[in-house]
């Protein structure tokens, strides 16, 4: 058995087609917006970098895609077409069949994302055996291949090891191997490198990029690190307070950022040659936004805000090919 991680013929339907997806969280003050009318499509083999600060709804969006969001979160509307079928209308049983097979997710904290009481082999094999009718011996062969694929040396000896015997980077590799076990069409990577050392971060990032190119899968890379997102993504989506505020090809977002929030984010990246300059922070704090709130979510912190910003949420407008922005005063 060999790994057939070859690009498959192009699919006419986008892998993912989000239409006005909204998620709310129930709180004591009322329902708080976590994801607000987010729409985008993702083609086969495409990487979308989803960036924004903590609490902007990027992880919630990832969890909602896999229908893993539990109480107090609730999907309040919209559609999420995955290979043409609406994930939000699938039963939990059908959803479970998709998860780990066509649709996989890796998480932020590799130190705690592996079950400490199961061997590496058992954990990877479980994902394979949950979806395919193959024998344990066949699954083992596959697990060894996968471990080699993600660059774990001495793969055969690792099978019987437990997670505590592996370093953080190794564990993230194991998680990646598990997520890629059945060649998913879409991988949601929720800050997979945040908890790791800087050098290991680089290795994991290259590994993901490499595997993504080989397998031609689509990937949503969630991070708050703009540089990391830019290095791996084809397109980038900036989220603020649950809204998608700017969507653009990665290079274009850096060269011609249009939304004031994106500008603020780029201005607050520290640069090594700025010896005597301070980074420019965005004034204010992100605020919780009740579903009943009106106006542009960024208005309280925005230097360009005018009267119209307090009354309406700006529409997501195309300003260049593949580049759309949600601001009345873009440019």
């Amino acid at each position: 058995m060999t790994l057939d991680l070859l690009p498959t013929p192009t699919n006419p339907v986008p892998v993912l087609d989000l239409q006005d997806l909204s998620v709310v969280y129930a709180t004591e003050e009322g329902e708080v917006t976590a994801v607000q009318q987010v729409s985008f499509t993702l083609e086969q083999g495409e990487v979308l970098g989803l960036v924004g600060e903590s609490g902007c709804g990027k992880s919630t969006l990832g969890l909602t895609l896999l229908r893993l969001l539990g109480w107090p979160g609730r999907c309040a509307g919209g559609r999420s077409f995955f290979n043409g079928q609406d994930l939000l209308r699938l039963s939990q049983a059908d959803m479970q069949k998709l998860r780990g097979d066509r649709l996989a997710m890796i998480f932020q904290n590799p130190m705690n994302s592996l079950n400490p009481t199961e061997t590496i082999e058992a954990q990877i094999a479980e994902t394979i055996l949950a979806h395919r009718k193959i024998t344990r011996a066949e699954a083992r062969t596959r697990v060894v291949e996968l471990l080699e694929l993600v660059g774990i040396s001495g793969a055969k000896d690792r099978l019987t090891q437990y997670p505590f015997e592996l370093s953080g980077g190794m564990r993230q590799r194991v998680l990646i191997a598990t997520a890629l076990a059945l060649h998913p069409d879409l991988l949601v990577a929720d800050e997979p490198t945040t908890a790791l050392d800087l050098t290991v971060q680089g290795q994991i990032l290259w590994l993901l990029e490499d595997l993504q190119k080989q397998s031609h899968m689509a990937m949503i890379y969630i991070t708050h690190n703009l540089a990391v997102a830019a290095s791996i993504s084809h397109r980038m989506a900036v989220m603020y307070s649950g809204w998608l505020v700017e969507l653009a090809p990665a290079v274009e977002l850096f060269r011609w950022p249009a939304h004031p929030y994106t500008l603020g984010l780029l201005a607050s990246i520290p640069r090594h040659h700025w010896r005597h300059q301070r980074v420019t922070p965005i004034p204010g704090q992100p605020q919780r936004r009740l579903t009943s709130a009106v106006g542009c979510p960024f208005e309280p912190r925005c230097g360009r805000a005018t009267g119209v910003c307090r009354e309406d949420v700006p529409p997501l407008e195309h300003i260049a090919p593949g580049h759309s922005v949600r601001c009345f005063h873009a440019g």
Partner: protein, 293 residues
């Protein structure tokens, strides 16, 4: 640890275990007492010198001697044999009630802890209500309904133990459920069966194992209390509780009669408690395993 001592480990098999046991003195003492109790009880037929129910009125209330090391009771029965066979009742009720309670309570705790919601609230409040009534009172009520026998005592003690086990099981399952790997496992399409029995349950085994191991001592004491009240094994079948109860009437005739069953009960409960404490320490993450306490 020097290289020399590591080398000696390889030469003498089991020497590491012995060194470990010497370090953990209280645990070893508990283990020793427990193992003796288990061996004596399991091989009671070979160990007991006499039939525990055979009377011999020529030797009533004899002092400890070579023929009757633990003396004899009011019917001239050999107390050593009765203590040995009485251990059977304790062992059966102890293990049986703890297992019965654990199986029922852990299943319920797993279900309500995993599913949560209204069922969880309802069962948890019921458990709280059960806590308002002392366990022994529950046990007495149940024996009163079922009629006094060893079997009733086993069921009664199990029922009395269910609420506390549900509470501990539920709490540790809720704690284990919140781990990232549970969500990661779901994200990778694991079946609920795998998530419950191989992801959540093994990771809350620590507190449950401690509860179960400490439960044996409590169950054996409860059994002694019930049989002291005449609600467990019925005479002439010996049990430590009913021996203690009968011996009370003959305190002036023979002090040995009360001492031997009481001392045995004390040592067995002590042993089980020390083993339970040792297991608790093993699972305590704040505890330095190289430094015994």
């Amino acid at each position: 640890m020097s290289a020399l001592s590591l080398a000696s480990d390889r030469r003498v098999p089991g020497s590491r275990l012995i060194r470990w046991l010497r370090k953990w003195k209280t645990f070893s003492l508990g283990l020793f007492l427990t193992v003796i109790f288990l061996l004596v009880t399991l091989f009671a037929d070979g160990i007991a010198p006499y039939d525990p129910e055979a009377t011999d009125y020529t030797t009533r209330f004899s002092s400890p001697s070579l023929t009757h090391p633990f003396s004899t009771d009011e019917h001239g029965r050999d107390i050593l044999s009765r203590v040995v066979y009485g251990g059977r009742v304790s062992l059966v009720v102890g293990i049986g009630s703890v297992l019965l309670a654990s199986i029922i309570a852990i299943s319920i705790g797993l279900m309500i802890g995993f599913l949560g919601g209204r069922l969880d609230t309802l069962v948890s409040r019921l458990v709280d209500a059960f806590f308002a009534i002392p366990g022994i009172l529950w046990a007495i009520t149940i024996v009163a309904i079922l009629g006094p026998s060893t079997r009733s005592a086993l069921i009664a003690i199990a029922v009395a133990r269910i609420p506390v086990t549900i509470r501990v099981a539920r709490a540790s399952i809720i704690a284990a459920r919140e781990n990232d790997y549970v969500e990661a496992s779901r994200a990778l399409g694991s079946s609920w069966w795998f998530i419950v029995f191989r992801t959540i349950l093994p990771n809350c085994a620590g507190p449950l194992l401690v509860l179960v191991s400490l439960g044996f001592a409590v169950a054996i004491l409860d059994e002694a209390a019930l049989s002291y009240l005449g609600l467990s094994a019925q005479p002439p079948t010996p049990s430590w509780g009913n021996m203690l109860q009968q011996s009370q009437r003959y305190l002036h005739d023979s002090l040995w009669y009360v001492i031997f069953p009481g001392l045995t009960l004390f040592l067995v409960v002590l042993g089980l408690n020390l083993v339970g404490d040792g297991i608790r320490d093993l699972f305590d993450p704040r505890r330095n395993m190289n430094r015994p306490g």
